[in-house]
């Protein structure tokens, strides 16, 4: 399954900015889930396979993989302007939100309820991440070899460290 140019949607820089703002602001405890949901399920800008291809490249390049994915999606649909708009959406608001949360945390972080709520959210966030990986694994061909490499990578890093 290679990428085709024939049915690529028209996307404006503003739409890129909005979509990536939305992805990033929903992204409690990890962005992989929200990036896939936004780009593949909601907007249908990318197929499952195209999403996976860009994610693989994003993983290979230095820096956060979803940021690399953002740059490449922006560039694909809007050239330089699109890439800049996507990144502005992706990093702009979270920058302010995380600082705002830092200020709030200095005031209220010691409250036990806050700690407990954060623990509960982390538990759900991990479930979202794992569910995304399970959905993405459907792009692997029905053949034992890719699955073997996937399992080896998982065991090497996840179980044996």
């Amino acid at each position: 399954m290679e990428q085709t140019n024939s049915h690529r949607p028209q996307v404006s820089a503003f739409a890129l900015f909005l979509t990536f703002s939305r992805i990033t602001l929903s992204g409690f405890g990890g962005l992989m889930f929200w990036a896939r949901r936004g780009l593949v399920e909601r907007q249908r800008w990318l197929t499952e396979q195209e999403f996976m291809d860009l994610l693989v490249l994003g993983q290979l390049l230095p820096g956060p993989n979803v940021l690399n994915l953002t740059v490449m999606v922006g560039y694909r649909f809007g050239g330089w302007t699109g890439a800049a708009a996507a990144v502005a959406g992706f990093l702009g608001c979270p920058c302010l939100v995380v600082i705002g949360m830092g200020v709030l945390y200095q005031q209220y972080g010691a409250l036990p309820h806050v700690q407990q709520a954060l623990a509960g959210m982390s538990t759900v966030a991990v479930g979202l991440l794992l569910a995304t990986v399970i959905k993405l694994a459907t792009v692997l061909p029905r053949h034992w070899r890719p699955w073997l490499f996937g399992v080896l990578a998982f065991v090497g890093v996840g179980v044996l460290r």
């Binding site: 405890g29 490249l57 993983q59 290979l60 972080g109 959210m121 990986v133």
Partner: protein, 175 residues
């Protein structure tokens, strides 16, 4: 606590992001060494709190670097630690993205995608696995994580509700 040299901080983070293959968590130990052990700008406890906060905040988990900078020197500090994040993305990634669009069927691109897709999936599953074991203290936590996976795979609900339910479960002491 040492006097803070913002330009040194900027350069150090810039260098780190260029070697940060595999994501922001790979350079976490080095940032910890630089900020806590070598320069004593934060205590280890403060560092851990900042990191956790960025994990639960909306946005990329890498934003913990923004919060470190903000904590050290306000807006200037936040800029010194955040701007380096953009440099590899706006140079190397754009170049690769450009080549990938220009030559979508290049053999090297296909080889990379075909070879690394299973590895990437395996590594992402491993991250989820490690996090699951780190955040869940007993069977109730694991049950909530598994329930989340099942619901996401079967129901089209907005997952923000699941996160809110998780926060509620935590507040009630179920996790």
């Amino acid at each position: 606590m040492e006097r803070l040299d913002l330009s040194a901080l900027f350069l150090h983070f810039l260098l780190l992001w260029f070697v940060a293959i595999g994501g922001p968590s790979t350079i976490l130990p080095d940032i910890h060494r630089y900020v806590v052990e070598v320069h004593h700008l934060l205590t280890s406890q403060q560092f851990a709190e900042i990191y956790t906060l960025a994990q639960v905040a909306p946005g990329p988990n890498a934003m913990y670097v923004t919060l470190i900078g903000w904590h050290l020197a306000g807006w200037a500090g936040a800029a010194a630690t955040t701007l380096p994040l953009l440099v590899p993305a706006s140079t190397l990634t754009l170049l690769v993205g450009h080549l990938n669009e220009r030559y979508p069927n290049a053999p090297i691109g296909r080889a990379i995608r075909r070879g690394l897709t299973p590895i990437t999936i395996g590594l992402m599953f491993a991250s989820g696995w490690i996090l699951m074991r780190a955040v869940n203290r007993d069977w109730r936590g694991y049950l909530i994580t598994l329930l989340t996976i099942a619901l996401v795979l079967r129901k089209p609900w907005n997952p923000l509700w699941l996160l809110a339910a998780g926060a509620l479960a935590g507040t009630l002491g179920l996790v």
